[in-house]
Point group: C2
Chain length 133, copies 2
DNA sequence: ATCCTTGCAAATGATTTGCAAGAGT
DNA sequence: ACTCTTGCAAATCATTTGCAAGGAT
């Protein structure tokens, strides 16, 4: 298990119960939206409010602890910041799977006259399980 | 100029003034969000309501006339559906530029055990103009 | 001790809905 | 003529804010 307290402090954020709980929830789920975090986190901390989650999601994004994954027609999900990767998003079951970006693709993302900061590669389709149904 | 009436009918939608106006607005801008469409479209059709835009954006997405481009921390933008391409999104000026996906990258997007439907490749960074400022 | 964070309730903003009147085929 | 679409206002849902009390360093 990652040490969420250290993670927060490394990014200049105070380590509160609320923040470590939110991080634990994101980490456990992999990719999760705000309402789902709220549902999850309430079990251990019934008084933790939605407003607190909103405030901290914004803060932790700014401080690069987490990353937003924008979804088509759905609420954004969030994940812990890690190396760049692609998302395979199943349009049937909503599941998101991480996949590495091949070196060839990496190269193709180097574009003339554009300074790349962050690449979002989201592939929408059907996961293995949903293909067979 | 594309014929929006034909475009709509081909996708089983009635051709109303409201819809052709929205399409014209999207086409003109390239990438545009709902509020911007509203501002634009009101000039010619002051009575056209926001609710109508929302309803039609949903409908035209379902009928594959337009495509949503989800933005990090901003309202989604919309574009006319066309061949797959990448988006170079400038984090400074907000401008979006379309770029083709190289054949090598195309290949790399063919993933085992995943049926690809639609690829969203969004590169966030600085455009040429904003680099020099 | 100080400054930051939380939780609540209220405010704001975005999106959706119901319905009667009007438009498209 | 028939059915779908529009515009309005109201309803709902999502997100943000202000503030007093509590927590982290």
């Amino acid at each position: 298990m990652t040490d969420y307290i250290t993670l927060l402090k490394e990014h200049d954020l105070k380590a509160t119960i609320q923040r470590t709980s939110i991080l634990k929830s994101i980490d456990k789920a992999g990719h999760i939206n705000i309402d789902e975090i709220y549902e999850d986190v309430k079990e251990q901390h019934p008084t933790l409010s939605l407003a607190t989650i909103y405030k901290n999601i914004i803060l932790m994004q700014q401080n690069k602890v987490i990353v937003e994954v924008p979804m088509n027609n759905q609420k954004s999900k969030y994940e812990l910041k890690k190396d760049e990767h692609m998302h395979l998003i199943c349009e049937a079951c909503g599941n998101i799977q991480d996949t590495i970006i091949s070196p060839q693709t990496q190269e193709a993302l180097v574009i003339k006259n554009f300074t790349l900061n962050n690449a979002q590669i989201n592939l929408y389709g059907l996961c293995q399980t949903c293909q067979s149904n």
